[in-house]
Symmetry: D2
Subunit: 366 residues, 4 copies
């Protein structure tokens, strides 16, 4: 069927596992979201040319390119999507922004707060997005909705954790994620950044924090684990823990929130579920509700499958893209964008500072 | 402290594991229930004299006796408690009833419906009790309360199961539970009887059923497993499954009930929990509530520990005894009594008949 | 990138929710499976023309057609996919088979065993598939693998259930699923058929069964619920329960299997998990393992996302299509095909016969 | 039956909820443990005389006494058990120790480290015990056993939490637990002390820590919540969180431990369960084992009920008493004793110091 939708030509830099998830989202978004754009997977670029060809074939990219520099300024490109190691985020994003492109960037936004701020400044007047995709797990969006409805009341405790076991295998230490020059940090940028973005989304700004980090394997350039105590601007207490040494956890990204009127719990390994305790229920019925967030009244249920039919990892990217394109059509700001990611980057920088100084660090109020 | 409570002298026949649970309940009931009786563990009887002495010492029975016959008629005995293999239930109970004793009997009540009816007739004017203790798991009592409040609405499905793995070890086949002459049946009397008592308690009478039973180990005299489809008088459908070949389950006694307005789920291996789904909740909040049934508004919470402090297996016996003594004090009938157990026995007999005839069997209406 | 893959032109009949899942699988299969075919979503047909246009646009079908009859014989069509109400499966499948097409058919295959047999006969020499997609939940495929490795030992019990709450809303009774002429049956064809296919897949043939069915809402033409006891050819006992009145369950399709050496448990609402109890573990470590079936050694993990990154409903269709195309390339038979579905249909027909006669029904040995 | 066991006369000070748990343990220990002592509940003392009489009657104490001072020196008393608010622990324990009594003391041992050290010095040559009862949850003892067997390997992370919701109700603020003079602290002594004792038991000494505490309700004298990051002497990282504002949690005392070879998880609200992930399992079978710690090979299973039959809160006290009496009979030291509690008190004092100074605090090596 011919479509009246406006075509957006995408250039993606990267061909790793996250590039798969992005490619998938570009293909799938129009199947699940009613957006007035048609995404054209125009050109993909990566360092390894032979892998790149296979990737392009599998994910139906029309062209490949060896060089991101010339690609981000191509006239026939509307959107530049950055799916490469962290150290390249800033140069690519700034170049793309200078060329006036819509910029989509994988998380964490940057290696440092200063870099993130430069990126945000460069992209200020352009639609942009940072792939903190877990905000759009339907259960997480639903948590946000319950909080906004006042169902938790005064917040007391925010607890975040992100555990996987990726660091235990010392052989992995050869990949870019373990090189300071490419990754900037370890668990902090890789895992904690997700937790911090989600915490700000759900519980607002962090006022001050005390952190410590640790590298279990001698010689590694980046942190394997990070711990963090925080006080939020809303008066609640926070703990964060992120580690690549959580043996037994594959993608254990979770939170618990306790408030005067109820509590919430989420774990990404059970991503279709949200735990909700409603302290306004009659006493004898008070309990964690183990909500299967696929019902007709839940976020994104109209987009994906029928009630009770689960969604998986990729739907967080598809929903991110769907919401982004709907914002784009309306000319409204999308979140999380580069400005949002700057806030997260400020927290990560405070974490590094606190771990260094072994003291509490205050964050500027907003 | 001197007590104004009336002393009841107990004679117990049996010294096996169930006799431990009974003894414990006799000792503990006054610690948790405000009852106007003081239980005196007067005399215990069993076949194996040397084991008996050790048992009596451990559980603080004042005397031992070799012979149950002379014991049940002793003037100084008020209560006879039967904790022996099934085949002895009827002779002891009938003798004790003839002697005017209060009679407490382990489940299943009898080897047959006819026997059960004779026992009930004998004990008709005497306080009596059958140890279907699982009715008084606080979570099960709470389930009953929710049903009585109409929270499930029209009942559609009742599903019961009772799995353990006791039958797999063929060496166990030498114990009384595998001899037809002593046990009468296998999984049917041992496990299914509990499920049936609980079903009648929670969901009312069974109108008709179709059953099949099976013995996995050749040469065994009793059934290892039994399956059952049923229609209840209230219009709901039922399934029951009981097996000693449920490898991995130790005491997996559970039920699920689905009604127009909600559903319930229980498993004895998580005995402090009740699952409750309330279909009258707002749609987006509908979910199984995983209720920790120890709260201030739950059954027996005033008797046992503080909210959130779990109870275990023995509390079902203690609560049974507590409620029995309170009924006794008020001169009110206690349930489940011999009459209730006759109803359960009628179902078990219909199960045997159906398994034999391979056809549906109707039960008389009550 | 130009592809050397052979193009297969697909015609799909249907535009409902299952047609979405099929369309998605056709688009996605090459992203996750290395198959030597390129699927071309050529033409889609459905009764409601205006809905059809929107559907075609959303799911990127090249053409629409009003009439399935002319479509199934079109020269430019290689594959006919049937995603319409049950009563149309046979006429379309037989016509497509006569035209020599590859035939893919939604479950249940047919309205009756006779019809199913005719369809199987017609498609005998053609590649064909029945969308019993739940065999290819990774956790279910993994269950099959564990069973084939002998990890359960002699099987004792197979327990299946499929509960949703779709029948409770009486308004739904107006849709095709509640009309005997279009659906043939209610819970039996809709839900039980999935359970039976999975049981045969995991536990082999059913030797005999006794069933009952029930319609809770007066005037409904089809069954709302069905219960079933069975004996499998391998000596194990089975229970099946399927209902549209399982209030609180959205897509509660599960099974438990108990064998001499271990047990398994699965529920589709937790589709990334398999419970496995290994009775050969040291005693103190024996327990249900709650396996997150996304690991590097699990079925389909190489196809989808990284370990710990969940898959959803649609992946069962994608995997079905991926395996089908790989079988096609090798010229090997695919399962479940029409012949497999005939076996399932024979069980469903025995269920109907047993429910009618209120007696046990034997199934012919294979 | 006459017993050859040596009688120990007990005097207990206190009649609150913890005094119930102690009394129960004194009555029950000989039913479950083969100990060469017979405990005689001789005299109980408390401030409120009328409540005391009722308490003594219910729990079968032979006498009551108004005054603890004269009681602890009575010749006919062998054991003094302290079940009163924290501020009285030291004076009573020291007086009882001076009188040569066996001293049992409720946790936390003292209001300060100095006080705890004085108590330990006073009781140095006497059998003594601190009621950190949760070490003897069978699942916790089992965790210790698995750790001692080396099943976790090098430890990476220790995570502890203890949440209840007792602080939210501002009316509760009138009880002794909220008065600094009687309780010393809030969540720190009440909840965190348990977590710290358990951490030392399972994971060894804490080398340094950084903490913060918070009081949500203005005017309260004690902390409502405390957070804590730690580094253990064994090189692992720790987080602790204890709060009376964990809405929805009743007795949520849990831990997770991650090591190179596996991980463990425990929550007191599921006290019969231990989660164990064995990273030495074959990859595809790696998962949390949800172990029901009631099996024949588990700690205390020989003492309590049959496999699969759950134990509750009181069994932790009974097992503590059972092990204590067995140590007493053998003349061996029992743990946790006053010396052990001094170590825990040192951590609590460091927590207060760190919360005050907002800096890391080192603990002396042992």
């Amino acid at each position: 069927m011919p479509s009246a939708r406006k075509q957006l030509n995408i250039a993606m830099i990267g061909s790793g596992s996250i590039a798969r998830a992005h490619s998938n989202a570009f293909h799938q978004v129009s199947h699940f979201f009613d957006v007035p754009y048609s995404l054209n997977l125009k050109v993909v670029s990566a360092r390894n040319q032979s892998k790149l060809e296979a990737f392009a074939r599998q994910w139906e990219w029309a062209e490949t390119a060896a060089d991101w520099q010339e690609l981000v300024t191509r006239k026939d490109i509307d959107v530049v999507d950055i799916a490469v190691p962290n150290a390249l985020h800033a140069p690519i994003a700034i170049a793309a922004a200078k060329a006036g492109k819509i910029v989509l960037c994988e998380k964490p936004l940057a290696l440092s707060l200063a870099e993130a701020q430069m990126m945000a400044a460069a992209a200020k007047n352009l639609p942009n997005l940072v792939w903190f995709n877990y905000r759009r797990v339907p259960a997480v969006s639903f948590a946000k909705q319950l909080i906004d409805e006042g169902r938790l009341g005064q917040p007391y405790h925010y607890r975040a954790y992100y555990f996987n076991q990726s660091g235990v295998d010392s052989a992995k230490g050869q990949t870019w994620r373990y090189r300071a020059s490419e990754a900037g940090s370890g668990a902090i940028g890789d895992l904690l950044s997700h937790s911090v973005d989600m915490a700000i989304y759900l519980n607002g700004e962090i006022a001050e924090l005390s952190a410590t980090k640790h590298t279990f394997i001698p010689g590694r350039e980046v942190d394997d684990a990070v711990l963090l105590m925080a006080r939020f601007a809303n008066g609640s207490l926070g703990t964060f823990e992120a580690s690549r040494f959580g043996v037994g956890r594959r993608n254990g990204n979770g939170f618990e929130i306790y408030g005067a009127k109820g509590s919430l719990g989420f774990d990404l390994e059970e991503m279709n579920r949200l735990q909700f305790f409603d302290a306004t229920d009659p006493g004898k019925l008070q309990a964690n509700r183990n909500i299967l967030v696929t019902g007709p009244d839940h976020p994104y249920s109209g987009n994906f499958w029928k009630p009770g039919h689960l969604v998986g990892y990729e739907h967080t990217f598809i929903a991110t893209m769907g919401d982004f394109l709907q914002s784009l059509a309306k000319g409204e700001p999308f979140h999380p964008n580069f400005d949002d990611a700057v806030r997260t980057q400020a927290v990560l920088e405070a974490v590094e500072a606190s771990a260094q100084s072994r003291s509490w660090v205050k964050l500027p109020a907003r």
